[in-house]
């Protein structure tokens, strides 16, 4: 009468090793396809302060807007569609909603509106949708392409969804919104009608003295390296001293002790083009620095977003992680690790 708990919750890790000079490298497409990024963490070994060009890019991430109690039918508003959705890319995500508890809404830059609804709400809305892949019978996904001709304002599909959201299922929630490349100006028609606030991504930078670090990340075991990187980012000690029971994380062998390392993290609604720019600047830093070093950039997606890579469904069983770590070296080589939790499709 015993229970087998040896089975850990499943998670997926996809590893890719290539070089930036390769024509077919897929870093750009991976970065583009994870639309909703919550946090970017950068680790630069043997660096005490970021050079000016890198620092300016870190501080120039686009600002985003938080609209309180936005009725979701406003995302179908004709003026909003014409000014923002059809021109440029809009990134929109419901705020303070949990993917495994509530209704979540996401507006993707390609014009897709995705609603993740529970059974009752879906039946009230009366619009076509599909079962959730991971929780059939509990969750439904309604995904519409707002740029498609069938969803043009005045069309049948458009009117049906609009009626559903206005009268049958009047959803209203806090919403994070950002527009690229236009910024707030393109969103002004929507913002002016509701209670909104502008936010800049929060940047935290710290220098870590005497950091134990793997001496050769290229040959290091992937799982232990990622575990060590996570411990550094979360400020958890990896000494594993016998007197402390708090953490038994260790730095993978063989290891060296760095005199200093710079850890920068930026939190907010971060659009992929800004992440792409940061990657180029980190590559420039690696080219210009005289030390033999490497850099690691981890981008975390929102845990409660209804989509992850390539508009695939994202769920939250015990951890809603969907992130990628880009380990860059001076010879333009890179290792890219894409990780997701249990209720997630395999990253591309």
């Amino acid at each position: 009468m015993s229970v087998d708990v040896a089975q850990a919750p499943p998670s997926l890790l996809v590893c890719e090793r290539s070089s930036f000079v390769e024509q077919n490298n897929r870093v750009g497409s991976h970065v583009e396809q994870l639309h909703f990024n919550y946090k970017v963490s950068l680790l630069l070994p043997e660096c005490s302060s970021a050079p000016s060009h890198l620092d300016s890019v870190l501080k120039s991430f686009s600002s985003f807007y938080l609209i309180r109690k936005l009725p979701i039918y406003e995302l179908l508003n004709k003026d909003f569609l014409e000014s923002a959705v059809y021109h440029g890319s809009v990134y929109g995500l419901s705020y303070k909603t949990r993917i495994d508890e509530d209704t979540c809404v996401a507006l993707m830059p390609n014009g897709r509106l995705c609603l993740s609804l529970d059974k009752h709400s879906f039946q009230l809305l009366g619009f076509e949708g599909t079962w959730s892949r991971f929780r059939p019978k509990d969750r439904h996904i309604v995904s519409v392409d707002l740029t498609d001709s069938s969803m043009a304002p005045g069309g049948r599909g458009y009117l049906r969804l609009l009626t559903g959201l206005m009268s049958r299922l009047p959803l209203s929630m806090d919403f994070l919104l950002s527009h690229h490349p236009g910024g707030g100006a393109y969103l002004q028609p929507l913002l002016s009608r509701y209670d909104w606030s502008e936010h800049r991504p929060e940047m935290i930078s710290q220098v870590l003295p005497h950091l134990s670090c793997p001496s050769d990340p290229k040959s290091c075991d992937v799982q232990s390296f990622l575990e060590w990187l996570g411990a550094v980012d979360a400020d958890i000690s990896s000494e594993n001293s016998s007197s402390s029971f708090l953490s038994s994380f260790v730095c993978p062998e063989p290891k060296t002790v760095l005199s200093r390392a710079l850890s920068v993290s930026i939190c907010g609604l971060l659009p992929p083009p800004d992440v792409h720019r940061l990657i180029q600047e980190v590559r420039r830093y690696l080219e210009q620095t005289r030390l033999e070093t490497w850099a690691s950039l981890t981008v975390h997606g929102f845990a409660d977003s209804p989509v992850s890579w390539r508009d695939n469904e994202h769920g939250h069983l015990r951890g809603g992680e969907n992130f990628y770590t880009l380990l860059m070296f001076q010879d333009h080589a890179y290792h890219l690790y894409l990780a997701t939790g249990a209720h997630d499709t395999c990253p591309p």
Binding site: M1, S2, V3, V5, P9, K96, T97, R98, D100, E101, D102, D118, R135, D138, R139, M173, D174, L317, R318, A342
Partner: protein, 276 residues
């Protein structure tokens, strides 16, 4: 799935302890909690069931659930620890003040009656002692068919290591019998420190033999179905729903439309027109 709920917070006379428990539950991410009034009828005479304290008296403003924008919802629940069959009176008016009704049977006969007959929402599985009886498939399946849910509480396991053994052993034998369906895991917390977050409870339920999906359901969907079952029980199978009206005049105005729309035989219809 639905929101996370903890439907067993033990009631104490000390308001500050109760307030701290509700605040901690909101901080941990529970959207709904139920204050559990345990009652053990002792003597042969008619048991005096305590009336629940109104929620507005307990706390002026309910705290907002962490990570969401709504305040926590607090319900009242009654648990009867039964050692004899007359302890449960199905038509007692005192039960109406409570949103949920639970029973903790102490003998096999009572367990069978609770599963098959009694009009209740939750059957508590004892975790502080060795099970006095074995679970049989027939009554357990009967309870599942009726929508009655089995509850396992974990705070005894936090308090004491002997209780931990009993909790795990009893829970495993229940889940072997019911195959993980209709099981709810809640704390039976007496103070705020004994509460654990919903994902921690999910991990703990793995020890009881529940699958990944059932573990998460034990803190969310199953609790929601218990709440709906409680509402249905209070409203006579969902047919009549009584709402406190603001004035008597509106009551009288509502009466005639009902008699018009009902399918009554002609003799009865005539009678109602005479009284109008």
């Amino acid at each position: 799935m639905s929101v996370f709920m903890d439907l067993n917070l033990t009631f104490t006379e000390d308001k500050s302890v109760l307030q701290r428990m509700i605040e901690t539950a909101a901080q941990l991410g529970f959207s709904t909690v139920a204050i559990n009034y345990m009652f053990e009828p002792k003597a042969k005479k008619k048991p005096q069931i305590p009336a629940p304290t109104p929620i507005t008296e307990l706390m002026d403003q309910l705290p907002v659930v962490q990570g969401r924008s709504r305040p926590i919802r607090v319900l009242n629940r009654l648990t009867l620890v039964m050692s004899d069959s007359f302890h449960f009176r199905s038509t007692a008016p005192e039960y109406r003040c409570f949103d949920l009704l639970a029973v903790q049977p102490t003998t096999e006969k009572l367990f069978h009656a609770a599963c098959m007959v009694y009009d209740i929402d939750i059957i508590c599985v004892s975790v502080t002692e060795r099970l006095p009886f074995f679970f049989k498939r027939a009554p357990v399946n009967g309870a599942i068919d009726r929508g009655v849910v089995f509850e396992v509480s974990y705070s005894a396991a936090i308090r004491d290591s002997t209780m931990r053994r009993y909790t795990i052993a009893n829970a495993i034998s229940l889940i072997e019998c019911c195959k993980g369906k209709s099981v709810m895991v809640s704390s039976a917390a007496e103070k705020a420190l004994e509460l654990r977050g919903p994902y921690d409870v999910t991990n703990l339920s793995l020890l009881f033999g529940l699958s990944d999906k059932d573990c998460k359901e034990a803190v969310s969907s199953t609790c929601r179905s218990v709440l709906l079952h409680g509402e249905t029980r209070k409203t006579a199978s969902g047919i009549i729903y009584t709402v406190k009206s603001c004035s008597k005049a509106s009551d009288q105005q509502e009466a005639p439309p009902q008699s018009e729309t009902c399918e009554a035989p002609p003799s009865k219809k005539q009678k109602s027109s005479v009284t109008e």
